[in-house]
Structures are given as C-alpha cells and as structure tokens.
C-alpha cells in the first residue's frame, strides 16, 4: 500500500488521476473499519485530512452557506451552522460519538453514500448542491442526482467532493432519528423536515427507509393543498397524523439486522407527524 498525504487539493486530484486504484480517506471512520477487518485492502490511499481548503465554511452569496467537505461534525454542531442550518447541526450531533464527530465529515457521508448517512436527509430536504472537482474541471450536482443507490453516487473516480451548498431557509427545520440508544447508533429510521415560511411549503426527506434518501413529494404536495403553510399557522393533530401516514406510505423500507420494515414505517409516520407539529407550534 502507498499512502499519499495531500496538503493541497491539486496534489490529491493528481494522485487520483495517476492511480486508478486510489481510495480517498478523510476522517477514516468508515474506511478504517473495513481495513482493520481486512474487508478491503487498498493499494493506494489518498488522505484529505490536511487539506485546509476542504475545512472552510463560507457564506459567499446571501442565502447560501457553502460547507467544505472536510469540516468535522464537531464543528457543524455549533455556530455558524447551528443558527443558519439548525437541522444540519442537529443531524451532526447525532452522528456516532464525540470521537467520531471529531473526524467524520459531510464528504465522508456523501462518499460512502449509505441510506443511513445521518446528514443526507438534511441535504435532500434542503435541495443541497454538491461541488465535485477534477484536476481540470468542476461541476455542481443536485443531491437528488448525486445519490443513485445504496452506497452508489455519480462521483467519478478522479473527482473529489469539495463542498456542499446549503440554502439558508427562513422558517423552521428539524431532524429526528430512531435508534436503539442515543449515542453510537446507526439510524433505524430518520427524517428531516423543513418548513419554508417565505414560500409557504414543507419539505421532508427520509433516511434508512429505502435504497436512497426519499423525498416525500406527494405528501408535501398534499399538505400544501390542504393547509396554509406560512408562518403563524397551526397544524391539527388530524392533519399531522395523515401527513405521517402519507410519508410512511412513500417510504420503502426493508427487514434487516437493524429493524423490520413494519417498524420503520411506523417510526416514519411518528417522526413525520411530530416534526410537522413542532414546525407549526
């Protein structure tokens, strides 16, 4: 094995071009488990840990916060993310343990692209945009096009995820996750709900209940058709319950070692209705 510790993005990008077998490593919280247990034995590793450029948070245009792919969750839990994108701060705080959050990052969540990735529902609910760079080109892809399946994305071998654009929405947003305990848990079901008061709409995205994160567009449209979603409205228990049922119907969970499809569907209906009630308290 060869390990290349890049300090500049271009060094890492050049290494990817040169080595067709290279694997990227940021915090290592996913990949090192596979290496420790001999599930994978990469021949070339490119470490992104020391690339400062990937660890910045910027607000270039108003209304968009651009977060570097290597910013650790321990930073995303606090300001300025906590005020601008509270659901992302909440989701970040549910990742693993303090030790995992000190090194894990959005780039890792996107690179692994597991349906249980804690921050992915936040990206889906907020229509986040993913920046991908190669040595000589760059593109920006919607999160909806980025994730294509279980641990599959449109990222090409020579591309590095450099940053994620999050719209800063005026309204309420929240993230909830179900697991067997509070810490060190891979979610059984999760949901992120964003109530956009300016545009009077609600968006909800579900994690761990399908091959990709699921945006419940039919439930969103139904809610908009039966209810005024601008600020200051309140939501009845009946509407919230029906919204939960509809969101659960749009999920597509399976039975696996972590839970059953039936329980996951139930969990989604509870999470969705609770989040909606909280948004319009």
């Amino acid at each position: 094995m060869t390990v290349i510790v890049a300090k500049e993005l271009t060094t890492a990008l050049a290494a990817l071009r040169e080595h067709a077998d290279a694997r990227l490593i940021q915090g290592g919280t996913d990949l090192m488990v596979e290496i420790n247990f001999n599930h994978v034995k990469p021949t070339t590793m490119v470490s992104l840990r020391d690339i400062e450029e990937l660890r910045t948070i910027r607000t270039v245009t108003s209304g968009i916060m651009t977060i570097g792919s290597g910013v650790p969750y321990s930073v995303l839990e606090g300001e300025p993310v906590l005020s601008a994108i509270p659901a992302l701060a909440q989701a970040s705080r549910t990742v693993g343990s303090p030790q995992i959050r000190a090194t894990g990052s959005l780039g890792g969540n996107l690179g692994t692209c597991s349906p249980a990735g804690d921050t992915l529902p936040v990206m889906f609910a907020l229509d986040a945009m993913i920046h991908l760079n190669t040595l000589d080109s760059s593109r920006v892809v919607s999160i909806h096009d980025f994730m294509t399946g279980v641990k599959r994305s449109v990222r090409q071998h020579d591309e590095i995820i450099t940053a994620i654009d999050f719209p800063v929405v005026n309204g309420w947003q929240g993230y909830s996750k179900v697991g067997v305990r509070n810490a060190m848990v891979i979610s059984v079901a999760s949901a992120c709900l964003v109530a956009d008061h300016e545009n009077a709409n609600v968006r909800i995205a579900l994690g761990s209940v399908g091959p990709t994160i699921i945006r419940c567009r039919e439930s969103e449209a139904w809610l908009k058709s039966v209810h005024d979603l601008s600020a200051g409205q309140s939501i009845s228990l009946d509407v919230a319950s029906e919204f939960g049922r509809r969101a659960a119907a749009e999920s597509s969970p399976i039975d696996d070692h972590r839970s059953t499809a039936e329980y996951r569907r139930h969990a989604i209906s509870v999470l969705a209705s609770r989040l909606l009630r909280k948004a319009y308290q």
């Binding site: 590793m45 693993g96 030790q99």
Partner: protein
C-alpha cells in the same frame, strides 16, 4: 510513503520513527505494537467502544479509526502523555476512590476523555458529562460510578481554586 517506508509521528511531545510497519496500520496498532505505548487499549477496532481514545490535534478521537500514516502532521497525546507513572492524576484518583475502575479495560479511554472534557469545560453539566463520554463503553460499572468520579474531580478542583 510506501510499504516498509519509515515515517515519523509526533506522540506525547516527542518525534517517533515508525519502521518495519505496513502503512495501512491503524494509529492504535502503531502506538501499541510499533512505539511501545500499550496504555491505549484495543477492543472493537471499529470506533464503537472508545477504549482507544487518544487526543489528536486537541480532539478526542478513536485511534483505531485513524490510519497512522495519515497522522504525520498531527500532534498526538496518549494516556501515557496525560498521566505519569509516579503519581495518579486527580481524575485517576477519583476513579479509584469512587470505584469507577472494575475490569479496567475501558479506563484509559475514559481517563483521556474526561481529562479532555474538563480541560475544555471545567464546569460541565450532567448532560455535558454524559455526552462527552457517550463514546466510551464500560460493561462493568453501569456508568454511575464513572459519573460520580467526574463529579468528585470537579468538586476537588473547585475546592483547590
């Protein structure tokens, strides 16, 4: 760096040569087997248990999830760098006094995590203590005695001031 190439790590304020190693080794393995620092314990090797907690650039991390060769630009502090052989730290003494050490396997990781917490936040709330050690699993104590030890340390530090 490639197979069997030397590299250097900064551990407990000193520069160490890592040699005759496979470059894919975890920091946990390198600390214990290459650098003779066995205080950091290995248990789950998948970041679940926290027994290998070390400080890396002033953040508590699981050494099993760090590829050692990627840490060449980082400052690492292990349990050996926080404590001394001649006397117990106040955190260690509280763990002993409160019965927070039973089989002892999780103890080095917990001691590192608690030292780190109290350095960053000398007066943590009960919730903050729980969150700070939520990544350290102990199968003996049920955590009650660990929380008591943290509280005792805070009390003794408050008296000293």
């Amino acid at each position: 760096m490639s197979e069997n190439e030397f590299y250097q790590l900064r551990v407990n304020g000193k520069t160490h040569q890592v040699q005759d190693s496979w470059v894919g080794e975890s920091l946990l393995y390198v600390l214990r087997e290459r650098l003779g620092l066995p205080g950091t314990k290995g248990a789950c090797e998948q970041g679940e248990c926290g027994s290998c907690t070390v400080l890396m650039d002033d953040a508590a991390v699981c050494a099993c999830l760090v590829m050692a060769a990627t840490a060449i630009n980082s400052e690492i502090v292990t349990i050996e760098g926080i404590t001394t052989e001649s006397a117990l730290t106040d955190v260690q003494q509280s763990f002993v006094d409160e019965g927070a050490v039973q089989c002892g396997f999780c103890t080095p990781g917990l001691i590192v995590a608690v030292h780190h917490l109290l350095e960053k936040n000398p007066q943590p709330s009960e919730f903050e203590v729980k969150e700070a050690i939520s990544g350290n699993i102990c199968r003996c104590t049920g955590y009650g005695r660990v929380f008591a030890a943290v509280e005792a340390t805070i009390r003794s530090r408050n008296v000293e001031q």
